[in-house]
């Protein structure tokens, strides 16, 4: 167990930035701290680094309690969002900085810097100053500088935030490869769920200073612990249904009541891919008009509108869409194959389906 947080909190004045967070990161893992801005994820990262002191709880790195150990002595590598390169120093001097402080021998420093320049594809750029580099190169210098003194943990704060989309993609893949090669325990902060899903072994999801869920990308996507996670990871259609005459209803749609008494509300959510569409009007139970088509590449995003004005968002692969042969304005039929119960109001019966568990239907609704 490389890093462990036990009930860690941080308060800035009256603001509770982090509240009672507990999780562990294993040696060699690549973990994402994910959440909306202001969720407390950067504060957690800074506490692990020692740039902030927890106001409650305990923090362990490799079994040692770190709360009162200064940032200088924690042996961590930190990559800042804005890179924070030393602009008065060349690339070489930047990378060598931590080694000089650790009093490495000059020959060893030279060798280590050469090794890192090569590993990071920065050969020939050693003499340049940071302002002479592109965004992607600066990013790599920042990571090389953090890794130079062989830290036990690498921490990255929004590492891909400041570069453009194409370089971003390259950097993501590169980080995964780098982690594979070096196998250093890595934690990075991001607000981009796609990035977290793609890059990490495990994801820790925060919102408003609290830990919402921790799990593999697949876990958090397929088995979200609550409505927040379900909505934050991927797209979710949320419906608020009213129970009338033994059916939970909203406009044309009706679902089982799941134990919600008459007159109360049931919230359900479903993923766009859970919606099946047919150009045959009689094939599925509900009818809708195809309002908008958004082209996303391999996928298309469709917006359906039922006769009573309810909007349903779906996703469909290009081949499937071509097979349907429909255009904007077309009349279609649809059904919902699986959904999740998000909350039940006034539920007096024992819950037949736990909150947030997936309801799969052979027939569709």
């Amino acid at each position: 167990m490389s890093i462990e947080l036990r009930n860690v909190s941080k308060q800035f004045g009256q603001v509770r930035a982090v509240e009672g967070v507990t999780f562990t990161v294993k040696e060699g893992e690549l973990v994402a701290l994910l959440g909306p801005s202001g969720g407390g994820k950067t504060t957690v990262l800074r506490m692990i680094a020692g740039l902030e002191t927890p106001t409650g709880g305990d923090l362990f790195i490799r079994g040692e309690r770190m709360n009162d150990v200064s940032v200088q002595k924690r042996n961590i590598g930190f990559v800042f969002q804005g890179y924070a390169l030393f602009k008065t120093m060349s690339v070489r001097e930047n990378i060598a900085f931590g080694l000089k402080i650790k009093k490495w021998r000059t020959a060893d420093i030279e060798a280590r810097v050469d090794e890192l320049l090569k590993l990071f594809g920065l050969d020939g750029l050693g003499a340049r100053y940071p302002h002479q580099l592109s965004g992607g190169q600066r990013q790599r210098v920042a990571i090389a500088r953090a890794l130079a003194p062989k830290p036990s943990v690498l921490l990255l704060d929004e590492p891909f935030g400041a570069v453009d989309a194409k370089i971003r993609q390259e950097l993501r893949e590169w980080l995964v490869r780098l982690h594979h090669e070096l196998n250093v325990t890595t934690i990075f902060v991001t607000h981009d769920q796609e990035e977290a899903l793609e890059v990490s072994n495990r994801i820790v999801i925060f919102s408003r200073g609290k830990l919402e869920q921790i799990g593999t990308p697949r876990d958090v996507y397929e088995k979200p612990a609550n409505e927040f996670v379900a909505r934050f990871i991927g797209v979710l259609n949320v419906l608020e249904l009213k129970v009338q005459n033994g059916q939970a209803r909203l406009a044309e749609l009706s679902f089982p009541t799941h134990g919600v008494p008459e007159g109360n509300t049931l919230r359900i959510g479903f993923r766009p891919y859970a919606v099946q569409i047919s150009s045959q009007l009689g094939e599925y139970r509900y009818r809708a008009t195809l309002k908008h088509i958004f082209f996303l590449g391999v996928l298309l995003r469709l917006e359906l509108e039922t006769p009573s004005g309810l909007t349903i968002r779906t996703r469909i692969i290009k081949e499937e869409f071509n097979r349907l042969g429909i255009a904007e304005g077309a009349e279609v039929s649809f059904q919902i194959r699986e959904y999740r119960v998000l909350s039940r109001e006034g539920d007096s019966l024992s819950a037949e389906v736990p909150v947030a568990q997936l309801v799969s239907l052979a027939e569709g609704i």
């Binding site: 200088q72 804005g82 924070a84 030393f86 931590g98 100053y129 500088r145």
Partner: protein, 275 residues
Amino acid sequence: MAFKKPSPLPGFGLSLGYTVFYLSLIVLIPLGALFFRVVTHIGFEDFWKLATSTRAVASYKLTFGASFIAAVINAIFGTLLAWVLTRYTFPGRRLLDALVDFPFALPTAVAGLTLADLFSERGWLGQFLVPMGIKVAYTSLGVIVALTFIGMPFIVRTLQPVLENLEREVEEAAATLGAGRLRTFWSVVLPTLMPALLTGFALSFARAIGEYGSVVFIAGNKHSESEITPLLIFLRLEEYDYTGAMAIAVVMLLFSFVLLIGINLLERWASRFQN
């Protein structure tokens, strides 16, 4: 023109013409005239004799020496002052910040008078210092005090914007790499400040070399001891010794010119990471 770059704002030719004309009118023509007159009216031997008299040499030493020491003092304590004013918030910070400009606004004669009174034998500070053997008023030490006073705002005001733009993250990055506070300041912060610090130093130094008003009140103006060069020029003029005054003036001109060029080169070296 080959070095003309396309720009959304037109008028490179016009503005360059204006710049050259303005600089000529204000700076180059008067200085050139002085130089020209000395060259044409005084032979080299006469010039050398006038410019290197013991009294003149003593005044150069005092003027440049005291100005240099004052600028160094300002560079150290002005940096500290600027640091405190930009890094911390405390009650009265704005007032303190406004006070920095005081030496700019105050007529230098008032400053000189105040300082002379403060450090005289019966003055608030002088009554303690004089018995201890520290004589400030009417000595070369007084010259340094006056020059420090008038040069202080230059350092503070040139450093403040640079200090405000310093990224905190850079200092944190140094800390995560194991650097303590002193090391972070010395290897990371100070090199970043260096170009601005040198600019402030040059301005403070140049201002001190040219200072007259405040110094003459506190220096006592003793022959070859606490007599600054600008005063000597003034005295020569009062004696209707125009050539003598001009010879000394030209020496000052050359000295100042060489010093400023030197500082400029140093500044360029210190900011090599930006170009």
